[in-house]
């Protein structure tokens, strides 16, 4: 038996690591990885609550979150490739114009 709060604290720490990476990283690919880390932290809390209340709806919601994360990763990395093709850089500080 593991208390529910341990899972929630781990989930919060993962989310905090994701926020931290989003703030301090300057490589755009690593920023995307931080977003994935945040989504995973939220997923862990969903599964923990689903196991707590014996409700499968939480797991179905995690399934949908994973689908949206996959779509977001595909579109986001395509945008990264398009930006790199026009700017020749991956640093987000140097990408400061919206026009190509």
């Amino acid at each position: 038996m593991v208390p529910l709060s341990y899972y929630l604290v781990l989930s919060g720490i993962l989310f905090a690591c994701g926020v931290l990476g989003f703030l301090i990283k300057r490589n755009i690919i690593t920023i995307f990885m931080s977003i994935e880390l945040m989504l995973n932290g939220v997923n862990l809390s969903f599964v923990a609550f689903a196991a707590q209340w014996h409700a499968l709806s939480g797991q179905v919601f995690v399934f949908f979150v994973m689908v949206v994360a996959a779509a977001e990763a595909a579109v986001g990395l395509a945008i990264v490739i398009a930006v790199y093709r026009t700017r020749e850089t991956l640093n987000v500080d140097q990408v400061n114009l919206l026009k190509l």
């Binding site: 990885m33 709806s57 949206v68 595909a74």
Partner: protein, 176 residues
């Protein structure tokens, strides 16, 4: 958690991606402990398989090197690190104080069988499931359009004109 911290301190994107795979694998083990066996399998297949391969291919395609420090990133470190640490400690203190005595989660209950999830997914959540398929279709089309070269979209059928240098080379070759 060590993998998550490693993701932050590594400066090379490849190392960050590999430590993110470690995080995904340990989260899959956590899901298995919480009884969500279907989600553990999906986590390994979709996240650690598909999404991370996508990340690694992009890193290799763009030849991403070490990131360089700028003025903005130093400001972000100075503001971000204490703020996030304070926020996470606050959340942890609140949660441990509130719930550790009453609620318990049993390990190995094996509740999330694929049969139950499929019944829930195709009966109660049928409309979101279908909407998700439309979302994936739009995402595929957007990724293809964004990642393809702009002239390939603009002029799909016109043949590429012969460059001027090639013509000159051919002419000089005939002269010799």
């Amino acid at each position: 958690m060590a993998g998550a911290v490693n993701l932050l301190v590594q400066s090379h994107p490849i190392n960050s991606a590999l430590s993110l795979i470690v995080v995904m694998g340990s989260l899959a083990a956590e899901y298995l402990l919480l009884g969500a066996e279907f989600l553990a399998a999906i986590q390994v297949i979709v996240y650690a398989g598909a999404i991370m391969v996508l990340f690694l291919i992009t890193i290799m395609l763009l030849n991403a090197g070490k990131e360089e420090r700028t003025k903005g990133s130093r400001v972000a470190i100075l503001i971000g690190v204490p703020g996030v640490i304070i926020a996470s400690v606050l959340v942890a203190w609140t949660l441990v104080g509130r719930t550790s005595t009453t609620h318990l989660v049993s390990i190995g209950a094996l509740w999330g069988a694929p049969k139950d999830i499929a019944r829930l997914l195709f009966h109660d959540f049928l409309l979101p499931f279908e909407v998700t398929s439309v979302l994936i279709l739009i995402a595929i089309m957007g990724a293809v359009v964004l990642a393809s070269r702009p002239e390939a979209i603009a002029r799909p059928h016109r043949s590429r004109p012969v460059p001027q240098e090639t013509c000159e080379l051919v002419v000089t070759g005939k002269d010799r």
